[in-house]
Symmetry: C2
């Protein structure tokens, strides 16, 4: 076979997984190419190089818009820079910027692995992540680069490439990241301009590692989760289908952090359909409303707490376009669903974890729900539902069995068990932690650690992590269920319920509550309302209700129960 | 690990590929399950057993509606029947009936392979297909069962299960197919009611054969094309995304024959999103319009010729709902696109072949096309475009090179070359034909045999199979392009152009033309119009135009050029 230049080399590279001249002879037959989502970017520029790809306001306040060609060129520049320097395991510490998106494609195109870290963690935690993952380079946004000082004290030899996130492309004020991109493009130009064909957007083994996102690690050290090319590809396609990213040209707003499970694979999913990434350096409700309106956003993903505050914002108004809002993390309340729908924000309720590439179940709306009273309808929507199009069935197993023994709970809507996953929607395991990986997959399924019931219709519904169940006078109280009931009060914005010791009942529920703007409320008012409204069982009525300004939350927007428990314990002393 | 009953066994089976008790110990890790589209049906009943799945009017004229549970139960019954009898390679000779859909899932769930045959072929050709594929059983629709007599004379021992396609479920008049389904269900019930978990809806090797559809074989014997579980799964997901099957509840009308490339994988794709299959025993334009209106069809697939006749039907009227019409086979004319759009039928132009699981390229509409004059816009839509979301780049290579030498043509819109494919969108090869498979994949890419140009924007456009190019006085005339120009005449319905010998120019184009209902036209009128309308180059004006009642067509709706050439040759003698 003669060696043709240009595009054709690209389709042949997949056969050997060859990239940039390396010629390994694997036996992949011509009817198979290895699944890898990085190729979606190369495909996007083949179809529509001038299509809009990225909309952003830089750190210095300049609005920028980039085409797919510009996006891909910058990712390619980064890739060649990394290749030139021989860097393979690349940390990323950044908010939702164009540089982060470029890194997700550029690092992998250089045959490297993405290691994102949460910039809301402490210096020590960030240092732990990057050290543990053995990064040989870090791309850091200028605003957060100072968080690397602990890491730098230990690993001073690991280069840090700082992104200023400005509109300045050249000259001394353009910053090291832009310089690296330019250096990489220069390097490609000087070496025959192989472009994307000289890179690794197709993989020689689809089960290889593509990224190591870390869990939030609320109870112990964060764990590195191994994502594969195949897993990320299939999760991306599933997200396209399940969140309808393929309806017209999607305009996706980056409210969900990209460091979190690689943005649930949306960096790839949005590129797969040549959608528009609207970046966002931080959650700012007036700005989000401005973007929803001006950029005609069609999709975003966010935790219920972000949606709660969004709906409560002064700038909230019904949008002319339908917005698909993929909601996850903690179960949203029916009240929230209702409020969102009124604003033309249509919730798609999903559930998953870092170990499942983000979302992997969905509450599929059934036509017959439309006949139900609103509260029943929203209660059904708030269930976790069923496995995604790409998933094997999601099961709920008895939690009190010896490790590795798997027995399904009854599908009766009240026997509580543990949610388990299997197959392609599962990450490969924990990075450098065989023991934790073995436990994660005990018995051959992925253990979520989340407790749920299995309804007769086959849908699952999370109750709580076991520590969130309050046992009061022998009755099990779900703190999540009680929170949902409390926010039905017209003046309550959010509620967080924890267990407090009770002499008579063993434990009792205590609620921390925030109040809507312009409203006032006392704890005893809430208790009286809870006792009298007829929807809250007597044993579930909170013994104490404390009104606070804001609920403590994790970086992914979950209510931080640990902090609430500490607050309750401090009060009790 | 203790052996739990029920659902959980199902998620664990994928780990070993175990089904129905066979216990092979393959080393598939828990984060991988083998891609196979049969599982979509099992998933559909887990989510929405009462969801509508099949709408049909039986052969005896009775309208029936079946839920997903009924659909899956019948497929399961067939599967257990086949398992009981040890049948593995199952022929199907049927129009687009519920039984055909059930067979597509049931045969594979029994670890078998689907072998569909085109019922418009001759007895001998059908016999050839089933003999060559070594079927051990045939499911045949009663209307077409007589076409098996040639096969039966040779292979009298192969059982034929006749489907009457009636609404009669039990008793002597229910027919052998329904009896087999009942027998299978009975067998399952008598053997522990393992249900779907005792079947093979998950596969132990995704590269195994799932079906052998046959090419239409216009020039030689039909060839069996080997489809794999992985290939069919990825093609199904791609069709969901590319034809927007995931918008609300899709209602898919079966105008495309299921025997053709397993209905382009739509039996699986529609089930993956729990859409509604509206079956259709034969193409009947008044009936299609009735279904479009009454069943609120959202999607169908058809060749341009079907769309042409649909648009020309007396029953045509603008539909209230938007219908996605996936159009393939020969390039549609701009005129057809325009007419369809007016009726709220929105064409999605795709291209592919049996060897690529049906469609694999799409003409992606670009926003800037909206600014173009209609004719230019429709001309762009009529291009074959770019590879699907699941595909590697589609290339056009120089056709005059030694076998296996791959050199891309220039992207200049006029250098003609051969379209080639690579990777997951390619079938595994030809069944029992190593030499043809070797040629198909010469140089490591799949050779389409279709000639095309590559435009500067990266889109491809088919010209003709080489035999459809007419060389007249040294000029290359594309018969397809000339056909597109001729149907711009307001009274012409369809046109087919072939080459006829010409003493002066070597070859000349001759056009066969059909006229719209209520119009009359003579050959010389068309020639005069073609000469004077300013859009047809002088050398392209047909030397002869013959008005006929109907154009000869293949079973998949392509104009049968071979027959037109024969007609032209007969005339010349």
């Amino acid at each position: 076979m003669s060696g043709p230049p240009s595009r054709l080399r690209s389709i042949l590279n997949h056969l050997t997984g060859e990239g940039g001249g390396k010629s390994s002879q694997t036996a992949t037959p011509p009817h198979i190419h290895h699944l890898s989502p990085t190729f979606f970017l190369e495909r996007a520029i083949a179809i529509e190089p001038q299509g809009e790809a990225i909309v952003h306001v830089t750190a210095n306040g300049v609005p920028i818009r980039r085409t797919y060609q510009e996006f891909a060129d910058r990712a390619r520049g980064l890739a060649y820079y990394l290749k030139k320097k021989g860097l393979k395991r690349v940390g990323v510490l950044a908010p939702n910027t164009p540089a982060f998106l470029e890194a997700i494609f550029g690092i992998v195109a250089a045959a490297g692995t993405i290691v994102p870290a949460n910039y809301r963690l402490s210096e020590d935690e960030i240092s732990y992540i990057f050290e543990f993952a053995e990064v040989d380079c870090i791309i850091a946004d200028d605003e957060f680069a100072h968080l690397l000082s602990a890491f730098r004290r230990k690993k001073g030899n690991v280069p840090v490439i700082v992104d200023l996130d400005t509109d300045v492309k050249e000259g001394p004020s353009s910053g090291p990241y832009d310089q690296a991109v330019l250096e990489g493009l220069q390097y490609d130009a000087e070496n025959g301009s192989a472009g994307w064909e000289g890179l690794h957007s197709k993989k020689d083994d689809e089960d290889e590692m593509i990224a190591i996102p870390f869990t939030s690690g609320t109870t112990s050290r964060p764990k590195g989760v191994v994502y594969t090319h195949r897993g990320a590809y299939l999760a991306s396609l599933a997200n396209v289908v399940e969140s309808n990213l393929n309806q017209g040209r999607c305009r996706y707003l980056w409210t969900l952090p990209m460091f979190h499970a690689i943005g649930w694979t949306y960096p790839w999913a949005v590129v797969a359909v040549r959608g528009i990434h609207v970046c966002l350096r931080k959650i700012n409700y007036p700005l989000i409303w401005k973007l929803l309106k001006e950029e005609k956003i069609t999709h975003f993903n966010a935790a219920p707490t972000v949606n709660t505050l969004l709906v409560a914002s002064e700038d909230a108004e019904r949008l002319p376009q339908k917005v698909h809002v993929t909601v996850a993390a903690s179960p949203p309340s029916g009240y929230l669903f209702e409020q969102m729908t009124k604003l033309n924000l249509h919730p798609i309720h999903v559930y998953g974890m870092t170990e499942t590439y983000g979302p992997v179940t969905k509450s599929y709306p059934m036509p017959e729900w439309e006949e139900l009273p609103d509260q029943e309808k929203y209660a059904k929507m708030a269930r976790q539902g069923h496995g995604f199009i790409s998933s094997l069935p999601v099961c709920v197993i008895k939690p009190d069995q010896p490790e590795g023994v798997l027995i399904n709970v009854a599908k009766n809507g009240f026997e509580v068990g543990e949610i388990v996953f299997a197959g392609n929607s599962c990450a490969k395991g924990y990075f450098k932690d065989e023991e934790a990986t073995r436990k994660l997959f005990a018995g051959g399924v992925l253990h979520s650690g989340d407790l749920a019931v299995w309804h007769p219709d086959g849908s699952i519904q999370i109750f709580d992590r076991s520590k969130d169940i309050i046992i009061s006078g022998g009755e099990n109280i779900s703190s999540v269920a009680l929170e949902s009931l409390l926010v039905e009060h017209e003046d309550i914005l959010e509620a967080g319920v924890v267990s407090v010791p009770d002499e008579r009942w063993g434990e009792s529920p205590k609620a921390y509550v925030t109040v809507k703007q312009g409203k006032t409320l006392k704890g005893e008012d809430v208790i009286a309302w809870a006792r009298d409204n007829g929807r809250i069982s007597r044993f579930m009525v909170p013994r104490e209700v404390e009104i606070i300004d804001e609920l403590p939350k994790t970086s992914t927007g979950k209510i931080e129960k640990k902090k609430l428990r500490a607050m309750a314990a401090a009060k009790d002393e």
